[in-house]
Symmetry: C2
Subunit: 123 residues, 2 copies
DNA sequence: TTGCTTCCCTTGATTATCTAGGGGAAGTAT
DNA sequence: ATACTTCCCCTAGATAATCAAGGGAAGCAA
């Protein structure tokens, strides 16, 4: 519930991050989750119940393609890689993210990030 | 469904922004929506079907209190203001937002923030 | 054997948001 | 009077993303 137990992700950003991770090369679900956790210093916890549905819808929409391979740990794993469509989608979602998060930061006071001397003429 | 039309908000951030707007003083729903649109330069579009449920749940959780008054345009309006609990909640949500958005930016490559394109700038 | 890690998956509930309506009252113009 | 616009409130139903909580299997080590 997120009522007290804060959510582990910002809704609507998982697909984008998955695509981004796959820019670095193909990877399987478990590995993608691990990478996101690592890079974010354990801030972002990707639950499997969120991740696998995400991978499936991305594949369904043609942003990813998958092949079964043997993992580095000698286990059966489904490796995903970005398609051309996926790369374009990543760009779109990244732009959207920047636009929205910048807008939110503005609303939140512009002092959220590096502060640009405020006061004067907001209009 | 935002099937083509990208969503107008980042899910999970509306409550926080509403609380933030009310830090500046009490306001009514219509005015809150207008403020968010203004400050964000029309990037963030707060639909009434999202806003009013948000206000009601915030009030229900004790973060806001409401009183009916006459608006500046001489109309009946429900003015909301932050409670003490609401102020604490705003702080929590703000921290969470910074933490999550920073983590996402890390995953997205740290270079996510739009470069000014012109020259030296970043500093 | 037990147990840990890696790897895949689904079902059901929750929750936020959007769509698409509903209404009413004040002011301005015709 | 009518009509129109802006201001202001609200809800029901659908959609969709996430989470919680299960499931299983296979490799490896003690």
């Amino acid at each position: 519930m997120s009522q007290n137990g804060t959510p582990e992700l910002l809704k609507g950003t998982l697909d984008m991050m998955v695509l981004r991770i796959l820019m670095a090369g193909s990877n399987h679900g478990y590995g993608i989750a691990r990478r996101i956790r690592q890079i974010s210093d354990d801030i972002l916890q990707v639950e499997e119940g969120s991740l696998y549905p995400a991978l499936h819808r991305l594949e369904k929409r043609g942003f990813l393609s998958a092949t079964w391979k043997q993992s580095e740990f000698n286990r059966r794993a489904k490796y995903y890689r970005l398609t051309t469509k996926g790369r374009a989608q990543l760009k779109r979602e990244t732009n959207r993210w920047e636009q929205l998060s910048d807008a939110i930061d503005k609303v939140m006071g512009a002092a959220t990030r590096s502060a640009p001397a405020l006061s004067a003429g907001v209009k």
